[in-house]
Symmetry: C2
Amino acid sequence: MTAGPGEDAAGLARRCAADLLRRVEDRLRTLLAAERETWAAVHEGAVVPVDALAEMIGSGGKRIRPAFCVTGYLAAGGDPADPGIVSAGAALEMLHVSALVHDDVLDDSDIRRGLPTVHAHHTALHATSGWQGESRRYGEGVAILVGDLALVYSGELMAEAPATVVPEWNRLRSEVMIGQYMDVHAAAEFSVDLRSSRLIARIKSGRYTIHRPLVVGASAAGRADLAPVFEEYGEAVGEAFQLRDDLLDAFGDSADTGKPTGLDFTQHKMTLLLGWAMQRDEHIHTLVTEPGHSYDEVRGRLLDTGVPADIEKHIAGLVERGCKAIADAPVAPVWREELAAMARKVAYRNA
Amino acid sequence: MTAGPGEDAAGLARRCAADLLRRVEDRLRTLLAAERETWAAVHEGAVVPVDALAEMIGSGGKRIRPAFCVTGYLAAGGDPADPGIVSAGAALEMLHVSALVHDDVLDDSDIRRGLPTVHAHHTALHATSGWQGESRRYGEGVAILVGDLALVYSGELMAEAPATVVPEWNRLRSEVMIGQYMDVHAAAEFSVDLRSSRLIARIKSGRYTIHRPLVVGASAAGRADLAPVFEEYGEAVGEAFQLRDDLLDAFGDSADTGKPTGLDFTQHKMTLLLGWAMQRDEHIHTLVTEPGHSYDEVRGRLLDTGVPADIEKHIAGLVERGCKAIADAPVAPVWREELAAMARKVAYRNA
């Protein structure tokens, strides 16, 4: 790509990234369309899991992981015409779809991106159809298989990327599963263990969402040497991302986020927000775990601890740390600026 | 490898295959040991999902898929010293472990290979520990993540195999997920639809267990041209394998199989055995779906239809068809004999 008339380097950089992200969308859609066609020829019922994924992909989502992946790639000097990076970005999004479908079962969430979750939909279908067996087991079983299928497709997509991505892709995938296990386990125990909470936040957000997608992109461009810089940036910005998530869950608007507010309370998620607040005010533990307390009561008590305000300051510090990490990175200045802008965007989003 | 003193071609062939299968075991164990070490250094709780997989791998299993994979490879003239085929065999077994862990949730099975299933173990652990939330959701959630981790490791292993395996590996994986969905759906509907039952049996057993592992092996050796022969063999022997499975579930000894007898009845699995029997005797539908009927009653009624005896004859025919399919295959005669022996072994096993 070359700069259009009146377009500066930043404009061109953004156009390159936006173009790759459009191709990521196309790749996701063409894969699912091809699979649908294959399976429709086999049996009319076989398309159901494929359609469930197409609906998830079509219902929105922020595409943060593909965005960091293509940005890492372009910052590392990768060729924007190479289809491998498109597949890598699509693989990351498909992996995320798998994680969401399974996560919704783990959390028993009914709504995702404004639509019924996969297990909620199939549980209801079973119940209204009068089929054999337990509706919950059927609905959750279908969601397990739909998430498995997405995990398989993500591997299929990443196999189209340059083989240099394999080590980071392996780390990313096993790490997110183990991080999810630790999260579920911490929610069950629900005792304040800030070391464990920070580790989970680091694994589930910093690494999974920012650091490793950037390194996958850089590795696809043959620049694994950028891993330490992207790690430092990603861990800081990822923590800011996660803290914003905690705040949005507690105080956000469900019309923006597409999911109910207060899910972390219902599910006893030992978030950093809750962990820090409970250190200052033990009574919050009771408010969260014992029935009969409204979200407003929990929210009011959280605000009284002063933790939300402190978290806002902490987020600002993390964004600054992230920007500093890439200030001298061996990449073109335009990509340093772009990464700084992305740090602010994920830290100050409203959904 | 060269023949030992007094060893004939068949002896040497079997020794090569056995050696590769031993190395498959080693690869499975070294991967999990390395992952355990990595995660133990991060957090003492992070090793739980890895240990769950190590326990599954260590508790036995027939290793049918790795056996067909290395046989397909050696029959295709692959180099027994190449580590890629070892990783491919290990990947197939790890995928199977993933499928078993998730399958046990889908079927709500408590016992597998004589041990508590992953979800049963973690459900009980939650209940006895007095943790927050619902024990069933916790136990099944952990099993979802443990199965996901195995699926990730299987991809990691297959990435070590020659890239020529990718197309067949992709087909195998997406097909097994969609086959599982169709199976779960058919069990919920529980209406006799022999077209759908045969399709499910073909996908879940013939292709997943025999045909595609053989083709993965042949592709690793650069002999994708063997795919049609292995397909014909695999579809026949796979159907025999599945029919034996149906018979073992209904009439086998749980001390041999390591799982309770009659699971297909409890779960309303629309097996070919049940489908055929219900065509001859509609009352069996009631015996299976309505409470208050013992397995012995179902078993007696099944035997009265004559279907089990007919299935035995059908199995014999399928084994013959499988052997015929490879009788003129462009592989060394010793491998034709070995594949014929394997057909008899899977069709006449007792576990």
